[in-house]
Amino acid sequence: METPTPPSPKPSMVANLLGWLDHRTGYKFLVHEALNEPIPGGARWRYITGSMLTFAFAVQVITGFFLWTAYSPSTQTAWESVYYIQHVMTLGWLVRGIHHFAAQAMMVLLGLHFLQVVWDGAYRAPREVNFWLGLVLMLIVIALSLTGYLLPWDQKGYYATKVATNIAGASPEIGPQIQQIAQGGSAYGHLTLTRFFALHAGLLPALLVAFLGLHVYVFRRHGITVPPAAEGKPADTFWPKQVLFDAVGCLVTLAIVLYFAYSREAELTAPADPGEDFPARPEWYFLFLFRFIEFEAISQYGVAFGAIYIPTVLMILVFLMPFIGRTRIGHQFNRLFMVVMLVGMAGLTVMTIVEDNHNESHQAKLRFAERDAHRVVALAKREGIPPNGARALLVSDPFSQGPRLFRRHCSSCHRFDGHDGTGQKILKTVEADGKKTQVPEPETAADLKDFGTREWITRVLTDYDKTFQPLENAGEAGKKLLTGDMSAWCKENQKVLADAANAESLNSLVEFLAAQSGRTDTRPFDETLVAAGKEIFKSGMLKSGSFNSSCADCHAMQVGDAESLSDGGGAPTLTGYASRKWLKAFLRDPGHADFYGEKNTMMVFDEKRLSETDLNLLVNWMVGDYYRPGKAEH
């Protein structure tokens, strides 16, 4: 950009060229018009929000174009291509990060710009039309952020946008039709993405450019609204002081966006899965609306009331501001109305965040969702994404599916580290003194967090009753196990096991039993200890003293193909204890003579209850047989 310079006596070649160009295009007049707009009262920092908004939009156009070059809108490629942008392509994380956070910056700047316009009464005659043009621009930006949110086709975008389209579906009369048109059908699918993408990258930006052009044109026509404090001060032109102020504002915007893009990274949750719930929340700037329609006083009148009628009425009031504000008292009303609205929105937003932070169940769901998000990226990096999409990676992954299968099939009796496998506490509602409260549902079987590991085996040997204490809640059948042979053995041998001289012996026995699992995820088994443990298992002889009966007296144990230590005597076989094979056989038929036999109280998981695929996923997870990325990747 150059300011028009007065003709010098000897025009240089550049000046000649520019003169030639100006003669043909008249550009100098345009530049003059653009840069020499007078600013009565002088350039001011408070005038920069409009330029910052325009700048943020330009950043969106630039980064949006580049994202477009790698994005593929379909249910099997949207998440996948965004993953590729974010985690594989050069600077993809940065381009997406800028786009992601500049969108949020636009929302903040919109709020500021609006606040300023209303506070200063800049909507009044003759600027009413420009005020309305600004409101149209605001609606377009909201539509842009709404359509953009869905495009990564991740769990968060999918479920949050579903809420939005369901709200559209609640519109009076033509709601269902609007929803179907937006979605491209009665359900979310390929066409939802192609339509949202066409709106997001095509129509909406074009509309925004058109309205922005009108907005700036009308703004230039009437000039800046000068605050009282600046009246009478010397005027500036737009160039260079105000341009500098604007440019600094843009730089600050960019710096903040870059800071977030670098330190937080744009989120990409797990691929959208209609069968998997998600603790959905809209993006933070829509949280107030989310919370608003949750109030019972609002929700009792239906979704349309809180999410459509009331916002529409408020929006109409905003559109009428230029008329309401004609009188002094009207302007004060507008200011008050805006402040109340903004405070209300901020209050609701804070309220939602605080409530969510204190909602343990919600937090547990978020953590579990985050676990999925990390996992699918680790899997995609390791083995690539199959043609049918990245969701398949999670579906066939024990680490992802194990906890879910545990929740569905095991958590009615067992716990996993105190929760249901997915991190969720299992609660029940009790009524006391007419007040309903949530209390933990007592488990009726052992906590299986470290089942089969050294820690587990040590606990079973040294304190059987405590390990299986939850069986007390399981009625008569459970008590039977707690008063059985193993419980008695444990009590009788507790003293000899606790003897410090036998620490090494206990270690050896634990090592031998833990080695049965063949686990590779715990530290490698010590062959010397295993060999010593084998002898103890067979003979019951410890370094100092001996068991009153050896393990082999009751438990069957076959080591390798040839060596049989014991054929057992009524207690569960410990051959390959807690290995994949053992656990699968046990789950399929815990009442088999090799396991609990007639004493069994455990549920039988036959093919009808648990498919072979699910059984493998569950068991592989429990025995730690799944891909583990290096620490750096996770």
């Binding site: 950009m1 300011t3 018009e33 020499n36 007078p38 009565p40 700048f55 330009a58 950043v59 630039i62 980064t63 580049f66 790698a70 490629t77 996948e80 291509s81 993953y83 590729y84 594989v88 392509m89 050069t90 600077l91 993809g92 940065l94 381009v95 800028i98 009464g121 800049a122 009044r124 005659a125 003759p126 600027r127 026509r221 009437h222 000039g223 609204t225 000068v226 009282p228 009246e231 010397p234 005027a235 500036d236 032109t237 160039w239 260079p240 002081k241 500098l244 604007d246 440019a247 843009c250 730089l251 915007t253 960019l254 870059l258 995609a380 083995e383 690539g384 994404i385 199959p386 043609p387």
Partner: protein, 192 residues
């Protein structure tokens, strides 16, 4: 206030401030404005441009990079007749990985000394697939009559070079081939 603003055309720049007195300051402000504006605009543009240049900036996974399993040595005719064998590999295409897809075919020939000779069956002339003709004991290209001997040496001037031989390894009776495609037309054997 706003209402009182005159709706007059903008005054010419000279009337706003006396140009002589403020010229240096104005020049400095202009410079700052240009610098700040340029940085703000160029950063996203530069990030996007680098992102767009990803295809030449990032080292890509090679398709079928390592040795690919072909057939057993015992599958080859013992009289030295070449056998055409297709090779399979995982094919990455941006974010998608296609498992176990055919990526090309080669001719394998068992030599009297037990070694195996492998040729990429793509004609070095213009990339058609050559066929082995048992009667003439030669590889022949149906497109422009390129012909190659059993050892891959060209028999006429149509192709720019001999057939492209490939590295072969034999492990436990199984033949492994390193599959590479080469540039056609030129005399130099150069991977694509």
């Amino acid at each position: 206030m706003a209402d009182s603003l005159p709706e007059t055309p903008p005054p010419s720049p000279g009337t706003v401030e006396s140009p002589g007195a403020v010229a240096p300051r104005r020049g400095f402000l202009s410079l700052l404005a240009v610098i700040a504006g340029s940085i703000a605009g160029l950063v996203p543009l530069a990030a996007g441009t680098i992102f767009f240049l990803d295809p030449i900036l990032r080292k890509r996974q090679e398709v079928g990079g390592g040795m690919l399993q072909a057939v057993n040595v015992s599958d080859l005719p013992t009289d030295g007749t070449p056998l055409r064998v297709t090779l399979k590999s995982d094919i990455p295409d941006a974010w998608t990985t296609y498992r176990d897809r055919v990526i090309g075919s080669v001719y394998l020939r068992l030599m009297p000394n037990g070694q195996v000779l492998a040729f990429n069956d793509t004609c070095t002339h213009l990339g058609c697939k050559v066929d082995y003709q048992p009667a003439e004991k030669r590889y022949f290209c149906p497109c422009h009559q390129s012909a190659f001997g059993l050892d891959g040496a060209r028999q006429n001037k149509t192709p720019p070079r001999d057939l492209d031989s490939l590295d072969v390894e034999i492990k436990d009776g199984v033949i492994w081939v390193k599959y590479v495609n080469f540039r056609t037309v030129q005399a130099k054997k150069e991977p694509v």
